[in-house]
Amino acid sequence: MTYPTLDSVNATTDVSNLLVYVNTLTNGYAMPTVLFGFFIVTFLGGAFAQMRFRGSARFDAAFAVAGFVTFGFAVLMSLKNGLLNPVYLFISLAVAILGAVWMFFGSE
């Protein structure tokens, strides 16, 4: 496969073509990595914010919130063709459902 150069990208119509170019270059791993980083930042941010405000962290609630907002981010990403493989969207949906299950059954 020939290496796609930046000249082949028409970024004048849509700037998100640059993101699609990056995702194509990395064999489809760039945007899932961004999604995973978003999930980790939200999860740890929520947990440590709870630790600061409440004194103790509820990891199940932080996980559920992080899964939910990551799913929303993945839905927005999947509006652009070629930006995110649908498998990662479904995995984020599964994580959101798992977070809900953990929150409803794990505590109290």
């Binding site: 063709n81 649908p86 794990g106 109290e108």
Partner: protein, 151 residues
């Protein structure tokens, strides 16, 4: 499985509604804004959504039937029997919806993460699913035996 069987069944219902709302929101949002998306061509996802919707619909039909039986103006000769039937039909409908909803959620998770077919992960998840269902039935029996179904 903390708490009583009542909170457990309520949690199952909340998770079902949550999964259904997320999935339907995703499908409608993507259909409106990007009809050519690859997400809409996934048959496994459509099967899972149909299963979730059928479980919710069966629960609603059981509720409607019981409501019409209990609020009828014309008491039938077997009215008492109908009351007893409703008392059994509502928990039975909830149990069937819970089982099919659990199956739908597990199918959704397994097919999306591990792919479809008889992979070793699917078999492991199937065994876990069976154990979970047996645990649910035993927990219900235990709750009935100890009289903790209402608290």
């Amino acid at each position: 499985m903390a708490g009583t069987i009542k909170s457990f069944i309520g949690g199952i219902g909340l998770v079902l509604i949550f999964a259904l709302a997320l999935s339907i929101f995703m499908l409608n949002f993507i259909t409106t804004n990007n009809p050519t998306s690859n997400v809409l061509n996934n048959t496994d996802f459509n099967a899972s959504i149909t299963s979730l919707q059928s479980s919710a619909t069966s629960l609603k039909s059981v509720g409607d039937t019981s409501k019409s039986l209990l609020t009828s103006y014309q008491p039938s000769p077997i009215y008492l029997f109908l009351i007893i039937y409703s008392a059994f039909a509502i928990p039975l409908g909830f149990l069937s919806a819970m089982v099919s909803g659990l199956n739908a959620i597990v199918t959704l998770l397994v097919t999306f993460i591990f792919g479809q077919g008889d992979s070793p992960f699917s078999i492991v998840i199937g065994v876990i699913n069976g154990l979970l269902l047996i645990g649910v039935v035993l927990a219900i029996l235990d709750a009935i035996r100890l009289g903790r179904t209402q608290s």
